[in-house]
Amino acid sequence: MSDNQGPVWEIFLQKKAGQPFVHCGSLHAFDKEMALQNARDLYTRRNEGCAIWAVPANAIVASSPEDIGPFFEPANDKVYRHPTFYQIPDAIGHM
């Protein structure tokens, strides 16, 4: 096999129309069409969904582990940010 397998793409699948796209894995491909085709071959052979997004991995901006403090932890002592003070009527069921 070749050493040059092409850039990495991240693949997101949508289970049903209207639902969010969920990350399911990554793959190599040299262009957009190849990314879609490879996603089809790797991730949708067993009827997993109805739509695919393929995103070049280098287009994704990611936070780093050091960001956990400033990005996520300030919420910990501010319980009022969570909507946990409402009584949910039984009729609504699981939210």
Partner: protein, 252 residues
């Protein structure tokens, strides 16, 4: 020739073409140019072998002598196979495998559309099921022909060499004999002239788009409809049939 013999031969042709191509493509499994493409071609080989199974199963039931699809696949000799020669040629480099695949996918794409209207419900059913698969196969092989043709100097040269070498084997896809004549009258077989018109146009457009040249005035191979093959078929059969012939009725 009676109708039953014609239908048996016609169905064998379809089964054998798929079986031998599926076997050839499987040779790439684990040796593809990179992991994702290896998987893609293996999936395609599996689809094609699946179609072979359906056709041979039906052929065995038409024959009605108690043979199964496995008997037909593993216990016939080369002269009893009716696959087109294009399918038995060695894979060569990836450009050759892909160009051959595009030629056959394009044929299947139009052929199955016609066969799905057959008065024979089993053939129509297999065709209907295959259309979705073949639509994807054609998209896959066409996109690679374009990448090779319109890619680097080397990929272009390899793709053009493949087109030049394989072109002589394309006429066999459209050959018709007394089997076709009889079955077309019954509304069962596909008139391959219809498929040829569409194939010619499609392939010419694909080659143009890929900056590849269609060969002209080429000597065209013939023979597979009569069971005459290239030297390569015997080797494929030897490999494919060795196990069942050594251990008949082996189960695994």
């Amino acid at each position: 020739m009676d109708l039953k013999a014609a239908l048996f031969n016609y169905t064998l042709r379809l089964g054998d073409t798929n079986l031998i191509l599926g076997q050839r493509l499987s040779e790439w499994t684990g040796h593809g140019p990179f992991l994702e493409e290896d998987l893609a071609l293996t999936n395609i080989a599996l689809d094609i072998t699946g179609a072979a199974k359906s056709f041979l199963e039906y052929a065995a039931s038409i024959e009605g002598k108690g043979r199964t699809e496995d008997d037909l696949a593993y216990f016939r000799n080369d002269r009893q196979f009716f696959n087109v020669k294009l399918t038995e040629l060695p894979n060569g480099d990836y450009a050759k495998t892909i160009v051959r695949q595009a030629f056959i996918d394009c044929f299947d794409f139009y052929f199955y559309q016609e066969l799905s209207k057959s008065k024979d419900e089993t053939l129509a059913g297999i065709a209907q099921k295959s259309i979705k698969e073949v639509t994807y196969h054609l998209r896959h092989s066409s996109s690679w022909v374009e990448r090779f043709g319109d890619g680097t100097d080397e990929s272009h040269t390899r793709a053009q060499d493949a087109v030049n070498e394989l072109w002589q084997f394309t006429a066999e896809l459209f050959e018709m004999n007394e089997v076709d004549e009889l079955l077309i009258k019954e509304g069962i077989a596909v008139d391959l002239n219809i498929v040829k018109t569409k194939w010619d146009k499609h392939i010419e457009e694909l080659l143009n788009k890929s900056t590849l040249t269609k060969p002209e005035n080429v000597f065209m191979q013939t023979g597979s409809r009569k069971g005459i093959h290239t030297e390569y078929l015997g080797y494929i059969l030897a490999e494919m049939q060795a196990l069942p012939r050594m251990y008949p009725n082996a189960k695994w």
